[in-house]
């Protein structure tokens, strides 16, 4: 049973209040360090920062819409082997969900983490962030993104189609939706580990235990409805854009095999990608053979093959974070296609990436009596 408390916001500055809260978490004995989005040194981009010194907490910027990398991979690097104590990690909901997928792949161990999830306001593309940062490094021209406005053109498409803006499977939740954040911020201890940690915080920090505000439920329901509407329109548009093989080829026709989508994908889990191995280091003779057999062959070769293989690998674990689209140098709307395919694939296996850490990956298990409809030639 979740335990709800509230933080009083000082000086109408929720960010500073969250920083103080994170600082008090970092000060507890069990927490070795804090992974949090932040600005280190002269950096203008907000990147994940591993903070050890509580006095550097002002570097943390967990509400920023700058989202250049999905931290799940980094959280995996920090947690896949035992450490003394735990690392507290401030993650977006999609990062938590991806981390859960990685833990199922034994590439992360959640026992070494305390996950702090914040209601997600959504993110801008890295390109747009660079544009606005050029004029204003410290504050956003239009303030924080308004999650209630799904038509905010600057919000990444992945975020506008996201139904998982409230963190699931966090140990501690920082709630913003349906709350007047210039006055209060909601803190929930979700798991035993999270509640135990909150107990160790200074008493004056948190108000007495109370209920979730009524306005929150409505805010979440309303936002969910608008996100689903955007998502379904996006799915339909994408379906139509690739409803034949010719159109599919056109969809990817400016892919240069840079593999950025693979690098950015938090759940592209292979230690060594087959497309980097000798298997795809073809001899010149091989290319000539293809050209001879078919008359001509488009280069670079294997672009569609690469994307379909990647889909076969990651679609069951795709959390829809949109980093693939964020990093595509030629602006191919890859997120739209991957999310659509992931939705179909996950539905087929009655699975949802990041939903439950106890739920096994569909391809790691089987039942004797299932999917009998795929067998046979009838």
């Amino acid at each position: 049973m979740a335990k709800t408390t509230f933080l009083d916001v000082a000086d109408k500055n929720p960010l500073q209040t969250i920083r103080e809260f994170l600082k008090s978490i970092l000060n507890t004995d069990d927490v070795q360090a804090l992974l949090v989005p932040g600005r280190s040194g002269s950096s203008q981009s907000i990147m994940p920062v591993l903070i050890n010194d509580p006095d550097l907490i002002d570097d943390a910027d967990p509400l920023s819409p700058c989202f250049p990398v999905n931290s799940a991979r980094l959280a995996s690097k920090l947690s896949h082997k035992p450490i003394k104590g735990k690392i507290a990690m401030v993650l977006r909901p999609c990062e938590i969900r991806a981390l859960i997928e990685l833990s199922k792949l034994k590439q992360a161990d959640l026992a070494n983490t305390v996950i702090i999830g914040i209601d997600c306001l959504g993110a801008y593309s890295t390109k747009y962030w660079a544009q606005i940062n050029a004029t204003d490094a410290d504050s956003l021209p239009g303030g924080l993104p308004d999650p209630g406005n799904p038509n905010d053109p600057h919000l990444a498409a992945a975020c506008r189609a996201c139904e998982h803006f409230v963190p699931e499977n966090a140990d501690i939740l920082i709630g913003l939706f349906g709350i007047n954040t210039t006055e209060k911020i909601m803190i929930q201890g979700i798991t035993d580990a999270g509640m135990a940690l909150l107990k160790n915080l200074p008493q004056e920090m948190v108000e007495e235990t109370s209920e979730e505000p009524v306005a929150r439920e409505k805010a979440v329901t309303d936002l969910l409805a608008s996100r689903i509407e955007y998502r379904d329109t996006m799915f339909e548009t994408t379906r139509q854009a690739i409803d034949s093989h010719e159109k599919f080829v056109r969809y990817f026709d400016r892919c240069i095999n840079c593999y950025n989508c693979r690098v950015a994908c938090p759940v592209c889990y292979c230690k060594e990608c087959v497309f980097n191995t000798d298997v795809f280091d073809h001899d010149p003779y091989q290319y000539l053979q293809w050209a001879r057999r078919k008359g001509a062959v488009k280069l670079p070769a294997d672009t569609v093959f690469y994307h379909m293989t990647r889909v076969a690998h990651m679609s069951l674990s795709c959390v829809g974070c949109g980093q693939c689209s964020n990093v595509c140098p030629n602006d191919i709307p890859v997120m739209e296609l991957f999310r659509l395919t992931a939705a179909d694939v996950q539905h087929a296996f009655e699975y949802e990436a990041g939903r439950d850490k106890e739920e096994p990956l569909p391809l790691s298990v089987f039942k004797e009596d299932e999917f009998t409809d795929v067998v046979g030639i009838g």
Binding site: F248, V297, F305, T309, A312, D344, F349, E368, G376, I377
Partner: protein, 143 residues
């Protein structure tokens, strides 16, 4: 038109059951169409989805994966794993415009020589019905 289409069907067959059935069909002098290309694998559980995607991108009109009946797998459960992968591919292949019916999974036991021959003949009938793989049909220049 369909008479002129000579479909190419790639069949990944497991060493212990379907390949043995093909062998039995041969020694029993049962005919099956020349459109089938058999690839012997040790188990259907080792058929990487990549092999199937590549087969279609190279123009195969149909792909068959065939192994032991449930409970008979030489490696205990490889065929169950294959069945999940086939289920996955049946969602993914339509994304690139390949109808999911072009991918088939069957269980043909080592003693089913007659069944093997019949299945192959039926697959060719189906492949003619579906027509050429859209990958090779539509493309002037190969992907």
């Amino acid at each position: 038109m369909t008479e002129k289409h000579h479909p190419l069907i790639l069949a990944f067959v497991c060493n212990w059951c379907t390949y043995t059935a093909a062998d039995l069909a041969g020694t029993s002098r049962l005919a099956y169409p020349e459109n089938i290309r058999l690839i012997r694998v040790m188990c259907t559980g080792m058929v990487d989805p990549q092999y199937i995607i590549k087969a279609f991108l190279e123009g195969a009109d149909m792909v068959l994966v065939s192994g032991c009946h449930p409970g008979d797998c030489h490696y205990i459960n490889g065929n169950y794993k294959a069945r999940r992968r086939i289920r996955l591919l049946k969602e993914i292949l339509p994304r690139i415009g390949i109808e999911k019916e072009r991918l088939r999974l069957t269980w043909i036991g080592a003693s089913d020589g007659i069944q093997f021959s019949k299945t192959m003949q039926e697959l060719v009938v189906q492949a003619r019905k579906y027509g050429p793989n859209p990958v090779s049909a539509g493309a002037r220049i190969s992907e």
